[in-house]
Symmetry: C2
Subunit: 196 residues, 2 copies
């Protein structure tokens, strides 16, 4: 890991690039079930044993893909109201869960790979941290009481989406983002997420 930084254009770096590209391409084209070290190795032209050594399993591959993708400048939207912000965030989550295969694949992999579980946890923690500003703005506007626990509120707003789309696998209802956001915003206004 540290060596890749020391030799940015070196062989290790190109190998990593080829392998991660192959992983994502395979995932997009043939789905999570088709992902295996052997397939990715073949597709990338990198030898099996090399992939096994550096990434250990499919979860490791996906974790690396996610770590790279997480390294962006994403910030939660600012629509002017708490509920509007939450709806916007939920719409993005909805898209990620229905259109992007990486997210669901990583959730699946997280049950079989410690690396994937850790990468996913880190990713979500970071995103929820960035969303804390959204809650702060709502407090400053006086929409919700000071002392509102940002994390609890954000979980309440987003968890129903994961529950329905990932665990229950219900048909994706387009109103889901609004309903979940409205519920959480309503509860927050009534002070249900204040810590003290």
């Amino acid at each position: 890991m540290t060596d890749r930084a020391r030799r940015p254009g070196g062989r290790s770096a190109t190998v990593r690039r080829r392998v991660l590209d192959a992983t994502l391409a395979q995932l997009v084209q043939h789905g999570y079930d088709s992902l295996s070290i052997d397939v990715v190795a073949e597709r990338s032209g990198v030898h099996r044993t090399t992939v096994y050594r550096r990434w250990r399993d499919v979860g490791g591959l996906l974790a690396d893909v996610l770590n790279e993708a997480a390294d962006d400048a994403w910030l939660p939207p600012d629509t002017g109201t708490l509920e509007g912000d939450l709806v916007a965030v939920n719409r993005e989550i909805c898209t990620a869960l229905t259109d992007e295969p990486v997210t669901v694949a990583l959730i699946a992999a997280s049950f079989r790979s410690g690396q994937a579980a850790e990468a996913l946890r880190a990713f979500w923690t970071e995103r929820y941290d960035r969303c804390a500003g959204l809650v702060r703005r709502a407090v400053e506007r006086g929409e919700i009481p000071a002392g509102t626990d940002a994390y609890r509120l954000l979980i309440a707003a987003t968890a129903p989406l994961y529950h329905e789309l990932v665990l229950l696998r219900s048909a994706a209802d387009a109103r889901l983002p609004e309903i979940a956001a409205r519920g959480a915003a309503t509860a927050a206004r009534a002070g249900a997420f204040t810590t003290r």
Copy 2:
């Protein structure tokens, strides 16, 4: 499946019993990662090929275990208030997710096995259906407006638990059931889950 009913004490039935017992025992003792057709076959004394034929994969085994377990007389608690009922339900979910290995194992398996996914979906649908009575009582008491969508309310109350304990794998906070239930109940009282 239908034949097992026709020959209740027959060889097929005893084979099924031995295999399901072995599956559950293995799961409890050594965890989900240790579950494989071969291990279960060895442990049950039933031949590998038989288990492969009848259950196909680990997801099939777990699905059968769950189907059997789901066939009980469970009813949601009646504490006299909506929030009390939701807290009680959440406490049960919390126990199931932290103490009982079957639930989490089935969630994990549901990403790799259609049978497991379907069994889980059916299980949850049934439980949410049974919980609808809890919402109806709250409406009759005048706690929440008529027209409240029971399913949405129940999802809002329970989803944060699954999100934190299964997906985020945060440390189990004992206050989680209360917080999630309070949020959903508060939103419901304010009419956030009414359909019309």
